[in-house]
Every structure is written in structure tokens, then in C-alpha cells.
Symmetry: C2
Amino acid sequence: MPATPAVPNGKRPTLADVASRAGVSTALVSIVMRGAKGAGEATRERVLQAAREIGYRPDARARLLRSHRSHLLGVQFGLQHPFHSDLVEGIYAAAEPAGYQIALSAVAAGRGEQRAVETLLDDRCEALILLGPQAPAARLAELAGQLPVVSVARRLRPSVPGLEVVRTADDEGARQAVAHLVALGHRDIAHIDGGRAPGAADRRRGYRTAMNRHGLGEYIRILPGGLTEEEGAEAARTLSATRPRPTAVLAFNDRCATGVLDLFLRSGVAVPGDISVVGFDDSHLARLAHIDLTTVGQDIARLAGLAVGRAVARLEGAEIPAGEQVITPRLVVRGTSAPPR
Amino acid sequence: MPATPAVPNGKRPTLADVASRAGVSTALVSIVMRGAKGAGEATRERVLQAAREIGYRPDARARLLRSHRSHLLGVQFGLQHPFHSDLVEGIYAAAEPAGYQIALSAVAAGRGEQRAVETLLDDRCEALILLGPQAPAARLAELAGQLPVVSVARRLRPSVPGLEVVRTADDEGARQAVAHLVALGHRDIAHIDGGRAPGAADRRRGYRTAMNRHGLGEYIRILPGGLTEEEGAEAARTLSATRPRPTAVLAFNDRCATGVLDLFLRSGVAVPGDISVVGFDDSHLARLAHIDLTTVGQDIARLAGLAVGRAVARLEGAEIPAGEQVITPRLVVRGTSAPPR
DNA sequence: ACGGAGTTCTAGAACGTTCTAGTTCCTTGA
DNA sequence: TCAAGGAACTAGAACGTTCTAGAACTCCGT
């Protein structure tokens, strides 16, 4: 039972408490706690022992207040996006070994991006990592003027000065999906798009150019969709009533594709027998055995690692040209795509 | 364009900067920024103007360091649980009007509860709200000895002293589900459980007692499940091969139920024609038009509000007896339940 | 015996706020 | 005219750290 309350008064133990117990100065305790050099082996042990005994934990806020560096990366993410959850998981994993902490700020109903970013700034984050930000480019530029900012999964055109961008080559992903379907023998391939969501424009463009390149321009059909299951199902409803019905469909993302799958199953359209379905993201969802979705894999760990990497590089003064890191996606073939019959 | 950099040197503007620009003391600026009384109307305007001009934002950490109160609630949640996302959303909404800020700390692969809680403590949170904590009761008790702790959606038995518990009456929920199915005419009702997940034991118990109470003890069948789609699908696979096949199934939660639904659809078992399916949580998932799941609704907004409320009450010194807040769930009947044929 | 070079340690000033205890100045009532 | 009371404002000490100097001590070669 190492951590009994053990505080003289009611307050939380501080450097001074440890110091007086170990019979040294607070400065020395600080040195020991940070693992800095400049303390004798014996004293170090004694201090650590004292700290352990009274259950001392350094006060992160006081620490940050004093030291010029905060080693804090602010991450803005959407609570309702599984893809963001996966990214955050990757960001945690990448930040720890680099010696940085993560401050999370969620975008949710009644809590917009503006607010989310403000709290991060108030917490003195050194850099911002924004997942799929929807804020206008001007706002991002303004932020980028204040501190390093990394935008993940959103293309910015023209590029905002000082802003780092880490994204998947969405157009290339769409091209790969189309190529896969064409190789299977499909010709009539529809696309359910993501409207104004980040990446949607690129995926739409990639689909269109791929179709044209394969000489299938006449089959191009883009249905308004979105990034939720409901919007996918809605588009699928339209699709299933269309004659002739396409033999394959590329959905904006996995959530959207799941909605499509579900509606098809319910209305007796066999997948992949009657129609092939391809998603985008390779989120946890797609990998589930009972969904088993063919999808365009975004390398989430890589995106996260790169986002952290760019932020850290900028912070550590590397004079890298602010720029775009584009990651090539990789098609993951699973059970929802097959030759048309 | 109100927020140009506008800082003399490269640093972020501070109270002193505003003070010298407005020609007053830092103390007065502090008063004005906090909206405290004790400043003249004219000066107040002048200070605010100066602050606006140089783009001043108070430093949250310095502020917290000085003022004894931090008005910070630490929230631990699971990144991969949609139900937690919904709760967090509700917590944000409840905390704001109460004058509290939220610090998020995620539990993810490679980042356990221990670590998540430690960072919250380091940030000097005043109270902890733990969503579905898995930590042993002893650990929770230890925490509760240090600061107010609210455990959401996990029953603790025997009750841990000093710990606040906010939860849904899981057993009652299961009873409602069974009653609904029985009223529809079902007798052979199976339950896919949640193993060691928070709430699972209570739901299991509720199912069992309800079955007995309706004189259906001989039909009791509990399949090992879990809280993910995969585990639900796995159990459904077993179930669909069982003869005689139950005419209804109560799944541990909505994710699990979704897995069940999907497997049934794929294997040609009609829902609700051949078998009725009931979930638990009423998360976003269940409400999706294409899933349309009958489910036991947890009042998420209420749970969140209560969690914040209890934490705040304890902080503001209300000497409420530490105790359990149990919320009665409400069955939401949708499209996956119908009379057996 | 002495100067230099490490080491190990300490005093005290930051960091950007809020808080306590005043001080100054204006009203106002007797 | 004067004290009392309040409003408007300020100086300076906190808060719990880290950082900059420098002090005290040891170890060496000369």
C-alpha cells in the first residue's frame, strides 16, 4: 500500500514537502523528479523514496507555467467519427515516445471548432493537430501564424502558408477502387459522394478521372451522400430503384458504405452477388468479420505518426518547408467485391 | 481583422502587456478579465479595448495555479465506445452552464485506465468522472479518498466509500425488454451477455429473474457475448444453428445487437419475422433508419447531467451522502421486434 | 600549499495569474 | 468641517514549479 493519503494538512503534496522530508532544497528535488543530472546517487534515492512515501506527483500546470516549453500537442477531433477515434489512438501512440503529451478537445453538438481550438490555446499547447477541420482557410491561416498547425485529412487549395497538411491521396484511392472494380469486369460503377466533407472533392475527382481513363465516361454517376450511415442508406435506396442498376458502387467512407450494405441486404439486393460495394478509410468498422468490407485503406498509424512528426519537427526548429505530406492509400480487398454476374 | 499578431516581442501577450497599454495595474486587468466587480465602467471599457487590440487571452494554467479552485472536471472515456462518445457530448453540455471545464483523457490500446487517470490528476482536476471504469474497486476507493470520483455506468458492490455512482438500472432494463417480448407472445427468449463488461452482470440477472417471473425458467439461455459487433455476430452464429431456435434475443448492447442483426440478415434469418432482436443503450447506432433497433434506452443526457451534478455538488461542499443515482431505463420499441410467427 | 575543474547542492528570481490588504479619492450626512 | 463609508485602484505576496547563479566540497596535478 504505497500510496496512502499521507499528507500533513489536507493539501496535495508539493516539492517543498518532499524537500523538507528528504532534507534537501526544492531545487534538488526538482532535478531528481525530472531525471536531470546534477544529483548524487544516494541523495537521488533518498528523494525518490521521500516522494514515494508522501505520494508526490508533480503539478503539470506549475511545471508548464515555469518552463518555457510545454511539450503539449493539442488535438481537435470529432467525437462522432470513428475514423477520428482511430487517429487519436495513433496520435497518442506516436506522441508518447517523442516526449510529448496530448490535450484533447472534442467537437460535438453545441461545441464548435472555434471553441475547441480556443480551449487548446488557453492550455498553452505548443502546436495544434486538427482532424478533418472544417474551418475556413482564412481561419486556419490565422492560427498557423500563431503556432505550428497540422491539418489531417483535409486538402487545402491553395495551400495556406505555414500550415502543415497530412492527408491521404484521396483521388488516388478512388482511382484504385475503380481500377479494382474494372479489373473484376464492372463497367457501370456509381459513386456516393461526401458532399462538402474533407476529402470528398478529391475522391469525386479521382472517381471521375478513373472512369474516363477506362473509357467508362458514359457510366459516371455521382449520388449525393455524406459521411453517415443514414446518408449512405438514402443513396442506396435511390440506387436500388435505378434501372439499369449499377453493378458496383464506391461509397464515400466506411460508415456510408455500411449504410449502403444494410439497405441492400434489407431490400434483397445481394452483395457482392448483385452489386459490389467499396468503402473508404479501413476503419475498425470495415474489418469486422460480419461486415468484411472491401475498402480503400488509409494508413491510420502512418497518418498519425506523420502528423505528430511534422508538429514536433516544426517545434524543434527544423526549418522544413511547410508542406503537404500525401500518403498513398492501399486497397484492401475483402468480401464485398466480386465479378458482376 | 481583430486578432493580428500584435505582440511587441515574439511572446504571447500577458496581463502586464494589457496593463501597460491601458495604463493600469495588472491587478485591475485581472479584475476586468474575470468580470469581477471593483472596476469603473470607463476603465473597464478601456482595458477590454486594450486586450482586444493585442489579442490577449488569459493563460489557463497560470490562472489555475494561483486560484485554489481549478473548476476542471477530468473525464476518462473509451475512444472506441460510441456510447462513451455520446456521454462525453452530454457531459460537455452539462458542465459548461455549471461553470466547469472538461479535461478529456482517453483509454485506448496501449494507454490503460491507470495512465489516463494519472494525467487527469497531474492536470489538477478537482473531480473525476469515469465512464465504465474497469479498475478494481480497491483502486477506485483509493482515488475516491483523494478527490470526488463519479463512476458512470458501472455498478459497485459492495459500495465503495466516498464514490459516487451514476448508472442505469440495468436489471430493470433487461426486465422491460423481456416483458415487451413476452407481451408480443414470445416464450423462447435468449440473452447474449456482456461477459465482464460494466453492467453485464445486472442485465444477466434482470433477464434471468424476468424469465422466471414469467414462468419461462426452462427457456433461459445465456450465450457468452461481449460489447462488440464481432462478439454479437459470433453468438448469433451459434444461435442460428440452434434447434429449436429461440424466437427472440436480447443482446448486451447496441453494438452487439448490430452484429447479431447483420449475421442473421446474411444467413437468411428474417428479423423480426423469424426472430426478434432487442439491444441496449439506444446509442446513435440504434436510431439509424436502416438499423431501426428496438432497444433499452439509457437516458444519456440525464446520466451525463447527473454525473456532472454529483461531482459539482461534492465540490461545492454539499454534504450529500455519497450514494448511487440509479436511472430507470425506458424501452424504445422500433422495428426489430414483432410477434413470433 | 595552491589553483583549477568537476561535482553536488542551494538561494532566489522568474513564469502569469489571483488574492489580500491597503491607499486614495470621492460622496454624503451631521 | 469632519468623520464615515464606499468605490476605484494598486503594491506585493502568493501558487508550485524550473532556471540561473553561485557556494561548498572533493579531487587532482604541480
